[in-house]
């Protein structure tokens, strides 16, 4: 060690020496480096070989070709991608489903741009985006053929559930957080009880309750489709978690801010809307992004209450006689779709965190 340090002081360290210091400072560390590098290379090679080198591409590949090649059989995706993306949506109308997905993705991307972070602009983007989605998917107006919710499916349905969950859950979470920090004991305790009860239950149980139990409890004039009930359940669950995140953000706002506003005679709504919430949302931003990521992943649970979202349509895509062996390819493809969404969202969250760390310095 010592001699190494001395020689480094005399001559500028060469590349070899740098590498040695980095990966082989002690024999044990060297061993760890070699094993890790070997493992990494093995995983990379196996993956490359399976997914590309000995894989079968294109819609022409048959099941027999795939078995012979030994690698991934992407032909199943080439043949069945429509069911994965659009589910049981009428074949001739699937362009509408595709456009609706594009509209939702554009809406999500737009709301990630800081200049859209004004309450009214955000609300406008989301309401317009959801309306476009809804009109495209459901039809019945503008000469589009009517397609009922029971025929929605695939990625389009997953995106709808995510967007609707956020649209219900986010405003509700602000309401719940404000009610919970109310000075009135009955209101704050009651809201706290609701939030804790929802948080202590698994999401699956809540989805199940809203799909199966709630129709018994609603009066006739409130009966809606199962999809909307389940989405409301998911929104409630999202709101219970998000409310706690916002509460944490509110607690991070210095007490003096509210006191100063009160001393100036600013009313409750202005105080909350213009002073407390903007600062609280800023504190809560990283955790909020994380909650959106979790929310997106949890849309997949609706498969249990019988919806044909992307995972269920994936099961259907390989479930037919010819392709039953190709479950790996289908799951890998769906995992990739989820990964692209959640990973880019969480990277975006990390970027925001860094950005805020700089501006608050």
């Amino acid at each position: 060690m010592n001699t190494l340090a001395n020689s480094a002081a005399v001559a500028p360290p060469g590349r070899v020496q740098m590498l040695r210091k980095r990966y082989f400072p002690t024999p044990l560390q060297g061993l760890v480096s070699v094993v890790s590098a070997g493992l990494l290379a093995l995983i990379l090679w196996k993956l490359l070989n399976w997914a590309f080198l000995s894989a079968v591409f294109g819609a022409d590949g048959s099941a027999a070709d795939c078995r012979a090649a030994g690698g991934a059989c992407w032909s199943v995706i080439a043949n069945r991608w429509r069911i994965i993306f659009f589910g049981l949506y009428p074949y001739a109308e699937q362009w509408r489903s595709a456009l609706a997905c594009v509209a939702v993705v554009a809406m999500i991307v737009l709301s990630c741009i800081p200049s859209f972070w004004r309450p009214w602009r955000l609300a406008a983007v989301w309401i317009v985006g959801t309306a476009i989605y809804y009109i495209l998917m459901k039809g019945g107006v503008l000469g589009l053929r009517y397609v009922g919710e029971e025929q929605w499916g695939g990625l389009a349905l997953t995106l709808f559930i995510f967007v609707a969950t956020c649209l219900i859950g986010f405003p509700l979470s602000i309401v719940l957080a404000l009610l919970r920090r109310s000075n009135l004991p009955v209101i704050s305790r009651g809201t706290g009880l609701l939030i804790d009860a929802v948080r202590s239950l698994p999401l699956l149980a809540i989805l199940f309750a809203f799909a199966v139990v709630v129709p018994f409890m609603l009066p006739g004039w409130l009966q809606t489709g199962k999809l909307y009930r389940v989405v409301f359940g998911a929104g409630l669950f999202f709101a219970a978690y998000q409310a706690e995140i916002i509460r944490g953000g509110l607690q991070g706002v210095p007490r003096g801010q509210e006191e100063a506003a009160m001393a100036l005679g600013i009313g409750y709504w202005h105080r909350v809307g213009k002073i407390l919430l903007p600062q609280a949302m800023r504190n809560a931003l990283p955790a909020t992004i994380n909650q959106f990521v979790i929310g997106f992943k949890e849309t997949s649970l609706v498969i249990v209450v019988g919806f044909f979202e992307i995972l269920a349509s994936g099961n259907a895509a390989y479930g037919t006689g010819e392709w039953t062996f190709a479950y790996r390819e289908v799951y890998a493809f769906i995992a990739l779709i989820y990964f692209v969404f959640t990973y880019s969202l969480s990277r975006y969250g990390a970027y925001l965190e860094r950005r805020m760390a700089i501006s608050s310095r």
Partner: protein, 387 residues
Amino acid sequence: MIRILRHQKVRNILLQALFVAVVLVVVVGGWRNAQQALSSQNVVSGFGFLQKSTGWDVNFSLLPASPNDPYWWFFVIGIVNTLFLGTLGLVLATLIGGLVGIARTSSNELLQLLGRLYVDFFRNIPLILQVFFWYALVTNLPSPRNAIDFGPLVLSNRGVYMPALNVGGWHVFAAAVAALAALALPLWLRTTRRLATPPEQRGALVWRVLAGGLLLAAAILLLGRTPGSPLIDAPLLQGLNLRGGLRVSPEFSALLVAIGIYGGAYIGEIVRGGFKAVGKGQTEAAHSLGLSPWQTFSRIRLPLALRAMLPILANQYIWLIKATTLGIAVGFTDFFMIVAVTINQSGQTLEAIGILMAGFLAINLSIAAIFNRINRAIALKGNQLRS
């Protein structure tokens, strides 16, 4: 009138009364609607159905079960199944998470990269997708005739077979309790302040307790052994099926693997956060006192990191227990699935949902209580997590 409304106190009382009224209308209205709807379907409300026999069976149970058993017994089975899967999942996830966390905090960049790839990959794919994947993987394994030998394990599409002890179930349980006590009691004896002898002089006692407990466990196992059979029962191919050994069903193994891997990614991040919270000065001080790297790790960094991560870990454990409800997706009879099937079969919707809520509330509160106790027991005086 308006002047009265402007009065702060009056307004507060009115607002709260309004809140209570809304809640009451929603709850009472929902309850009455449900009662009417259910009674029109000839469902008798109340908990009398708990005594009726179910008429359906469960596919996995640690306790004896038959379709003649009453509903309350099936709920007990469901809770035991959930706790069993949850506990094994927690242990597996904690082991994986510990390894991943240590890899991510190591000074070796290649190891860090491995850990990061693991976390990024498994955390960004929904758990239910991973459960489906592992389930499809197990059910697509070769039939028992061509089963894959994987060390002591035998893998086939009927499940994973592993060597088992030829010992009755209750004896295994009792032996496990004795062995756990033999390991846990010495730890307590070494640290407790309730005994008169000072901790340094308890060495002999500790060893005696340890040896005694392990001997007791071995004795229980030998006692409960099925006479005239080998102690260890390995799976063997007989005809078209595997005989002997312990069969872990595809459902259970898929859930366990998925929960372990997915939970491990999250716990790995918690472990990393815990180590990051330990101030650099602590490590530097330990080095300057001449402690070896291992001593620095085991005596300084690990205990401090554990304290920092415990509260977050408790939340994660509660989450993992709740994740066992995914059993319904592949047909594992956990607590939630039993409740769902009960609602389907008996129509006792409100009661079953009430039992579900009570069950999960009890599980969550007990985990929280255990962790609060641990947290209080090991809490440090003052703040030692500073840099």
